[in-house]
């Protein structure tokens, strides 16, 4: 097989960070080579160097054996390199054809968009990428947008295609379809770099896997010789349990009840439709679904941050429908929000200030309107230790903490009030494997305490399958099906996530 790309000893420094530390990476024609690693491991940096968005501080780049300097995306494109970015590089107000044509038209002369759209039709037929060339990007679903990105690459006839976390926004069915297309592209002789942190996807698609950690290559393995546990351990640098042990528990009375909830989304369209659910103490109810199907609105409505049109929400026996967030909290709700930097903590506040954010009004944290620093520090110290939040001190701003540690801080604060309901929204998204493992253990521990009802909203199906006792699937604001964890299979849930109801599935 021809060597398409070789990156040798790539070093890239950012202020205070060594993003790539003598990284070697190569790609042959006809293979899928995965770059695997946690957030901040240096995968994206390496690929941005390849695409000319960054310049390496040291190291060499060879394209088909020729030492090459790539100084801009234009350069990369002229070397046959394409990239499907994690955040799609599409202009919503332009059509598919215009997006594909962008930057490819000759400098002079008029635009011949007819030719471009004909070529798009050919490509979409030959590769099974159904897309209407005349549609505007804003009209397309996420899956369709991704197809446009791939068509963009095919249109330019790239030899080497980098895909940065392409599955993050897709349903399991769409992922299967995407993988078929990608395999086909590899078999046609192109080289693909796949960037991901989802282990089962990596194993399903790759030929070779290179694992990065802290900017360094931890190893390169053939996919056929690898297992999920082995890859996870390479990513983290120590043995990892992927699925927490989940002892059976007794479920008690219902602590969170949601009845026929109707909620409007930000654009004035219904976001939740007649949604009902019940969570009992001692159990975890998992809400599975593809991003944007009403999860955010559900969490916000329960937390009192969004007013429902109709329906009822009760925490224990308190009707909290339409009440203020503070009233819902007082009724016993703890809330770990999806946007932890925005909604879960105040970055400019210190770690200890964040620890007492929700109960600073009450003794012993304050008295007669004055905060009691001694008490606060003592309490924070205790929680930081108990939840092993890695922080240089109690007085550093929370914005200095890593995603995982910030999430531990929020979880510590929320659980410190002995809640009757824990609402956790995307608790481990963007969090490193070690912290995710810790957070999962804590959730299981709370479940085992027998007094807390846990509602877990997650777009990570593995997380739901690993933690939940019951799984409800949300699609376009409705619960389209509910299964017990022991009867759950990935495929059936995947179909429901795409809107196929349980009966049809």
């Amino acid at each position: 097989m021809t060597q398409l790309l070789e990156m040798r000893g790539i070093v890239k420094r950012f202020p205070g960070v060594l993003a790539n530390d003598r990284v070697d990476f190569d790609l042959r024609a006809g293979e899928v080579h995965t770059l695997l690693g946690e957030n901040g491991a240096g995968k994206s940096t390496l690929m941005k160097i390849l695409y000319g968005l960054y310049q390496p501080d040291e190291g060499q780049l060879l394209i088909e054996g020729e030492p090459t300097r790539i100084t801009s995306p234009t350069d990369a494109i002229s070397h046959g390199i394409g990239m499907v970015h994690q955040h799609f590089m599409l202009v919503p107000s332009l059509t598919v054809t215009e997006n594909v044509a962008m930057g490819t038209l000759s400098k002079r002369g008029r635009m011949n968009l007819r030719q471009v759209s004909d070529r798009i039709r050919e490509l979409s037929e030959s590769h099974g990428l159904a897309v209407d060339p005349d549609a505007y990007i804003w009209q397309l679903s996420v899956g369709e947008r991704q197809r446009v990105e791939i068509i963009k690459a095919l249109y330019r006839d790239v030899k080497l295609l980098v895909l940065d976390e392409p599955t993050a926004v897709l349903t399991p069915g769409e992922v299967d379809h995407l993988f078929k297309i990608l395999r086909g592209m590899a078999e046609a002789g192109r080289g693909l770099v796949f960037i991901s942190h989802k282990l089962h996807e990596v194993l399903a698609l790759s030929d070779r896997i290179t694992v990065l950690r802290h900017g360094r290559v931890m190893g390169e393995v053939e996919a056929q010789d690898a297992t999920r546990e082995m890859l996870a351990s390479m990513m983290v640098g120590r043995p990892v349990r992927l699925a927490p042990d989940k002892p059976p528990t007794e479920t008690g009375r219902a602590r969170l009840t949601v009845r026929n909830l109707n909620v409007m989304g930000d654009r004035g369209l219904p976001a939740l439709v007649d949604l009902s659910l019940t969570v009992r103490e001692g159990e975890i109810l998992g809400i599975a679904g593809v991003s944007g199907n009403g999860q955010r609105e559900l969490a916000e409505t329960i937390a009192g941050l969004r007013k429902p049109e109709s329906g009822a929400i009760a925490v224990d026996d308190d009707d909290v429908t339409g009440r203020k967030p503070s009233a819902v909290r007082a009724a016993g709700l703890a809330y770990v929000p999806e946007e932890r930097q925005r909604d879960g903590a105040i970055g400019a506040f210190s770690v200890s200030e964040n620890m007492i954010l929700v109960n600073h009004r009450h003794p012993p944290m304050s008295r007669r309107g004055f905060l009691r620093n001694g008490e606060i520090r003592q309490r924070s110290r205790q929680l930081v230790d108990e939840f092993s939040v890695a922080t240089p001190g109690l007085d550093v701003p929370a914005s200095n903490l890593s995603g995982g540690n910030l999430q531990k801080l929020i979880l510590a604060r929320e659980l410190s009030g002995s809640p009757s309901v824990l609402l956790a929204s995307q608790p481990t998204r963007g969090v490193d494997i070690g912290a995710a493992e810790y957070i999962h253990d804590r959730l299981i521990e709370q479940r085992g305490s027998g007094s807390v009802a846990i509602l877990l909203i997650s777009e990570d199906l593995d997380e739901i399958l690993g933690l939940a006792d019951r799984i409800a699937v949300i699609y376009e604001g409705r619960i389209v099906g509910e299964v017990n964890a022991e009867d759950a299979d990935r495929q059936g849930i995947g179909l429901m996530m795409a809107g196929v109801s349980r009966e049809d599935a």
Binding site: H85, H87, S93, L94, M102, G103, R110
Partner: protein
Amino acid sequence: MADIFSATVIVATLSSGIRLAVPLLLASLGEAFGQRSGVLNLGVDGIMLLGAFGGYFTTLKTQSPWLGLAVGLGIGLVLGLLSSVISVSLLAEQGISGIGVYLFGLGMSDLLFQKLVGTPLPAASFQKAPIPLLSEIPVVGDLFFNHSIPIYLAFLAIPVSTVIINRTRFGMNIRAVGENPEAADSQGISVTRVRYAAVTIGGVLAGAAGAVLAIGLGIFQQNLTNAQGFIAIALVYFGAWRPLGVMAGSLVYGMVSAVVLLLKTRGIIPLGASDLAAMIPAVITVLALVVAARRFRAPTALTKPFIRGG
């Protein structure tokens, strides 16, 4: 009093409304180019003022309004480039940097006027250029086909701009860098170059707007534009970033101005209230556009400087 409803007066008023609309039309059309590319230029009024002074002064000294217009365009080009350097290369906060350009234009134009001219002297203006045959049509002919050449050109710029923005590679690049500069960059389009071009077009048109205003009046004075440059920015928003919308807004402004002028000269608005009356066109234009505007989305990257890999 009754004669203000006579046909001659109405035609004359509407025709002057069209003339009064032109500076605003040029300025807001230019601003639309810049905003489409993602750059908000708040300095339009300053560029207009310097363009106005340059146009007036040149015409005064050379007796050639065309040379005056050319100087106005040139001043617009230089200040457009300056605005690009500030907003695109130096990544300045666009909500603030343009105010600097405005204050520079306001002060500098007055300073130059005081030093070089002093007392207002009338300068030559553009000749009317009635279009053969068409201008003979009763009413319509006087209304639309009996103006000076810059006015025809300004209205011609509207369809031309629509075609450029929607149908050319350059226009597509402008829209792309205004909506998603990362995407454009990743496709090998130079965000910097496209934004420079769009902002500079805006500067040139603002300079032209000022020159046409001053030469049309044959006079210059401190703050001649009376903040029309800011109305122009508002028109871009309400005109939904489209040349036709911008033209509609400018015409409303021009017409209301013409009517106010008529009422003032007839003494219907007392002299004491004339300052108050001066804001009527702006107020009515904004109100009309608020009512008429459908909710169009602003270019997504508007006011956001672009940094690669950031």
